[in-house]
């Protein structure tokens, strides 16, 4: 069953059409990745799913419910949580407080077990529990951003470039954890990435975005083997 279904979505920034009719879907239990170059509209699509900016045409269905006209905070309360671009943790708050913020709309009775779950996934966060989030390294901040999103008990987890600005070893760690979250918690993950190689290896299915259009789609392995994808996103790197 498709958990997130995007039908003919157009999004504008003023007069500029950033998304030119996107169709895609994310099925329950999948990791779906969206790759593309800078400025292709990947983050815009992810943020459109969250309601900011809102789609000017088309529908976005989350578990059958049209969310394309809902405000961002209501969408997030439905069970979509994101680790936003640039992480956007609360730098002056401690790690613990950041995680509390993630659980702010949730029933307190889940809090203790959820935070244990996050600390199991990211033991580093447990070591840094009282530290100010802004003083941590980029990788730790990314872990915190994902952990904070998980504290909101999502059914769909949106990750926007978790590899941004991180060392290759840390990127590998983060991706392994994402895979673990998907496998063990049955979490549906929608991953937006520039790091095409890692993302496609991890994902069950993938979409390629160019200038606001989806140009290619297929399973992760298919796309990895696709000569166009190889030429555009993989050759030369990695």
């Amino acid at each position: 069953m498709s958990m997130l279904k995007i039908e003919g979505v157009h999004t504008f920034y003023g007069n500029i059409e950033a998304l030119k009719g996107i169709d895609m879907e994310v099925n329950e239990g999948e990791i779906v990745t969206l790759i593309g170059a800078n400025g292709a509209g990947k983050t815009t699509l992810l943020m459109t799913c969250c309601g900011s900016p809102q789609a000017s045409k088309g529908r976005i269905l989350f578990e059958g419910q049209d969310i394309s006209r809902m405000p961002m905070h209501e969408i997030c309360q439905l069970g979509i949580q994101q680790s936003p671009e640039g992480r956007r943790i609360f730098p002056r708050m401690s790690v613990y407080e950041n995680l509390q913020m993630g659980a702010i709309t949730q029933d307190p009775k889940y809090f203790n077990s959820d935070i244990e779950m996050v600390f199991d996934l990211f033991p580093r966060l447990k070591e840094r529990i009282n530290q100010r989030a802004g003083t941590m390294s980029g990788g730790e901040q990314q872990m915190l951003a994902i952990g904070r999103a998980l504290m909101g008990r999502p059914r769909l987890l949106l990750l926007d470039e978790p590899s941004l600005g991180l060392a290759p070893l840390i990127v590998k760690q983060i991706f392994e954890t994402v895979e673990k979250i998907n496998r063990e918690k049955k979490m549906t993950v929608f991953l937006v990435e520039q790091n095409a190689f890692h993302a496609l290896k991890l994902a069950h299915r993938g979409y390629v975005m160019v200038n606001g259009n989806i140009t290619l789609s297929g399973t992760g392995a298919e796309l990895l083997a696709n000569p166009e994808v190889r030429a555009a996103y993989l050759e030369g790197g990695h």
Binding site: C76, I115, I129
Partner: protein, 506 residues
């Protein structure tokens, strides 16, 4: 001396240039402030010229600057100390002469004062010795190790403050509680303490809006005015008692907060500041022009004073049917009773404000305010409704402003729009910013600095504002983010205690 200069970075002519530059600055600044003075003579106002003051000011500046140059170039510690001491004595001399208003040229007043009696000799020598010693011993060569040392020290002080916040707060509270027992008969001390306490309360109230939620509000005084006028009008027109009006004033102010908040809270930063500024002015202009209701610029006078919780009255001639406070407790009548009661009243109100703020900070709503200040988009992506969160901050901050306003009205017995100008908003905001955004103890310090000191030094007449300005500049130079500018997590976990603490919150 010249050899010493030649060996270092600065040579003689550059030093002379620098000194001349500072002499000119000193001349420009002192000639208008100190050099010319209007004197009231029987023949009318006359200008008196005080060149001696100007000369001393220039001398003090040049000598002091020379001392600082010595310090910069690491020349002769003794020389440095002597110069600095000389400069300090000259500044002192300047102030004494300025206050005395007599223009002697020859003998320094300082020497006369010192040798007038044994005690003053001792005091004078001690004064010089302390400055000299401070100058002498603080002027070691500043190596990097020293810098590190001082940084370590300041972080130690910070740590000591942070780990003892509760104790410091408690000591502060105890001090304010026993304050009337120390200064019981000193009417002006109690008045001043009450005034400071009003501003502490306003500062704490605004701290919710500015410090925690990060919404720059330049019109906070509007809520103060709403509270004050609600009490004054309710008590005059409907004869309601202070104790009934106090919560009503808070509710009115909070509703005004919501009314204002609804349209403007989508704005951010500078835009929000301008709109709130406008709102503050609107309230004031309405108060001036709605003559039938508010009495316009004449204000509202003979506002009812609060009773002792409806049990007893504080006036000398008690109205029929009630008893006096002194009779209730079997004491002699004293006009101080009411003042001390008012002092305790505002102390309690302020402490309630503080307590509520501290509690709220630990609750999800308070955490949401702080998160909103740091990153609004992240907040929305976590499912926080930014509009409601901001509105609640605005309303709660406004409510405390309303309480303070009602208290102000009942204390003064007279209110007019003049008490609610933009300057008040600016002072309250300055208290919050100087104290360090979000710091509760910082607000107390800043209120004492901003309100207490200018009142205490009222004798210095208009120069107190100059000193006040210099003080603010100094604070902003040395502590640009406020006196106490760090945010502590509302909760710290030891790993061993984690389970226990984690259970308590959220």
């Amino acid at each position: 001396m010249s050899a010493a200069f030649a060996s270092s970075r600065t040579n003689g002519s550059e030093v002379v240039k620098e000194l001349a530059f500072f002499a000119v600055i000193a001349l420009l600044m002192s000639v208008m402030l100190l050099g010319v003075e209007t004197v009231d003579r029987p023949t009318g106002l006359e200008l008196a010229v005080r060149w001696d003051l100007v000369l001393i000011a220039i001398g003090a500046t040049v000598i002091g600057r020379l001392g600082l140059i010595f310090r910069r170039e690491n020349i002769s510690r003794l020389g440095q100390a002597v110069l600095i001491t000389l400069s300090a004595v000259a500044v002192f001399e300047m102030f004494v002469r300025f206050r005395e208003l007599d223009d002697r040229w020859v003998s320094p007043v300082f020497l006369d004062m010192v040798f007038s009696s044994v005690v003053s000799t001792i005091v004078g020598i001690a004064f010089v010795a302390i400055i000299f010693a401070t100058a002498y011993f603080t002027m070691k060569d500043k190596t990097s190790a020293d810098v590190e040392e001082s940084a370590k020290l300041s972080s130690k002080i910070q740590l000591a403050y942070r780990s003892n916040t509760k104790k410091i707060g408690l000591i502060g509270i105890i001090f304010f509680i026993i304050f009337p027992f120390i200064f019981g008969e000193d009417r002006s001390a109690i008045d001043l303490a009450t005034l400071v306490m009003i501003y502490i309360m306003l500062g704490w109230g605004l701290n919710i809006v500015v410090g925690l939620a990060g919404l720059l509000d330049l019109g906070y005084v509007a809520f103060y005015a709403v509270g004050a006028y609600s009490y004054a009008l309710l008590s005059q027109n409907f004869d309601l008692s202070f104790w009934l009006c106090l919560p009503l004033a808070g509710i009115f102010a909070a509703s005004f907060g919501i009314i204002l908040g609804f349209p403007v809270l989508r704005l951010r930063g500078d835009y929000l500041a301008i709109v709130t500024l406008g709102f503050g002015e609107i309230i004031r202009v309405v108060l001036i022009n709605w003559y039938d209701l508010t009495g316009g610029p004449d204000g509202i006078s003979s506002i009812e004073r609060p009773s002792f919780f409806g049990l007893a009255d504080f006036s000398r001639r008690v109205p029929e049917g009630t008893i006096g406070f002194n009779e209730l407790f079997g004491m002699e009548y004293s006009s101080m009773h009411r003042l001390i009661f008012l002092y305790y009243l505002i102390l309690v109100l302020a402490l309630v404000t503080n307590f509520v703020t501290l509690r709220l900070r630990k609750l999800p709503i308070g955490r949401a305010w702080e998160a909103l200040r740091e990153d609004e988009i992240a907040c929305r992506s976590l499912g926080i409704n930014p509009t409601n969160t901001k509105l609640s901050a605005f309303a709660i901050g406004a409510m405390f402003g309303g309480f303070a306003g009602a208290f102000f009205a009942t204390r003064q017995g007279f209110i007019s729009p003049e008490s609610f100008t933009f300057l008040e908003s600016a002072v309250i905001l300055a208290i919050v910013v100087l104290g360090g955004m979000g710091s509760q103890i910082g607000v107390v310090l800043a209120a004492i600095v901003m309100i207490g000191f200018p009142e205490m030094f009222r004798e210095l007449a208009e120069y107190r504002m100059l000193i006040f300005g210099a003080g603010i500049v100094a604070i902003m130079l040395w502590r640009p983010r406020g006196l106490l500018s760090f945010r502590d997590p509302t909760i710290l976990l030891n790993m061993s205690q984690k389970e226990k603490v984690a259970g308590e919150i959220k």
